[in-house]
């Protein structure tokens, strides 16, 4: 009985069919897609223009900051290298190496 009424429902749904071809609907979807694509393009252009403007305003400070960081890093590296190649650096490095060598044996 259940099975029969299931078949009856399936028959009714099958007979219901589906909406026929509708070019107006296709046109509406195409227009929405075009509008969406145009909006995306405008958004991309606005983002690009904003990025350029931000870069133009912050550019000098940014360059200054980068040059300070570079100078600082160079100074630090030079100091470390200078320490490593001094007698103190040699003795500390040698002791550390010897300690590790003994530990590993």
């Amino acid at each position: 009985m259940e099975h029969e009424s299931d078949m009856e429902l399936m028959r009714l749904f099958a007979e219901k069919g589906e909406p026929g071809p509708d070019e107006a609907f296709v046109g509406r979807v195409s227009r929405r897609i075009r509008r969406h694509r145009n909006a995306q393009r405008i958004l991309m252009a606005v983002i690009a223009a904003a990025s350029v403007a931000v870069l133009a305003v912050l550019g000098p400070w940014l360059m200054e900051g980068i040059s300070y960081i570079t100078l600082g890093t160079t100074f630090f590296a030079r100091t470390v290298v200078g320490l490593l190649f001094s007698p103190v650096g040699f003795s500390v490095g040698g002791s550390l190496g010897l300690f590790l060598f003994i530990k590993m044996r």
Partner: protein
């Protein structure tokens, strides 16, 4: 080849070829896909919405979403099922906002390529469907109209299997009751 020649080519093209073309950004190919699938998507959404204007709006939304996500489609052959899933998700999102009415629909025409023999029964089914709860209606339509299995309905709707089974059982039972009452009244 002119524009009408291109359109003829597209109309004759296999679906997977159209999907592959649309994935590369070909709008004409996507338009042809909309032309081929609009009946199925609008039919499904009309059944589950009960409001045709709303169903057509949601169908447009579904096609727009499909166009946006087309590059995430793994296999061009799976386009139909994937599109149906998008349409169901669009409906569920709309339903979550709580704006979907449960009513005795006044819309009784069905502009269709239908092979319907008994128009009264068709009207009756459309009316009866609108009296079910939206998610129940969705499960019943997916099961009886789209002929999906319970597990397919689970993966399409994201509902647990037990919920899907109870929605289909309760919904179809109610549908039978409404249909019986309608036939008794006629």
């Amino acid at each position: 080849m002119g524009p009408s020649g291109t359109n003829d080519c597209l109309a004759a093209a296999a679906e997977s070829a159209l999907v592959a073309l649309a994935m590369t950004g070909d709008d004409k190919a996507f338009e042809e896909l909309v032309r081929r699938w609009q009946g199925a998507v609008r039919g499904l959404l009309r059944s589950v919405c009960g409001d045709w204007a709303l169903a057509d709006d949601l169908a447009q939304e579904a096609f727009l979403k499909a166009w946006q996500k087309l590059r995430s489609l793994k296999s061009p052959g799976a386009f139909g099922g994937w599109l149906r899933r998008i349409a169901v998700n669009v409906f569920l999102t709309y339903n979550r906002r709580g704006r979907l009415p449960i009513k005795d629909s006044e819309q009784t025409k069905w502009h269709a390529t239908s092979k319907q023999e008994d128009p009264a029964a068709r009207i009756d089914l459309v009316k009866a469907l609108t009296r079910l709860k939206p998610v129940e209606r969705l499960c019943v339509v997916l099961s009886y109209s789209e002929r999906m299995s319970h597990s397919e309905i689970c993966s399409t709707t994201g509902l647990p299997l037990g919920t899907v089974k109870s929605h289909i059982s309760r919904g179809s039972e109610q549908l039978r009751t409404y249909l019986k009452a309608y036939k008794g009244a006629v």
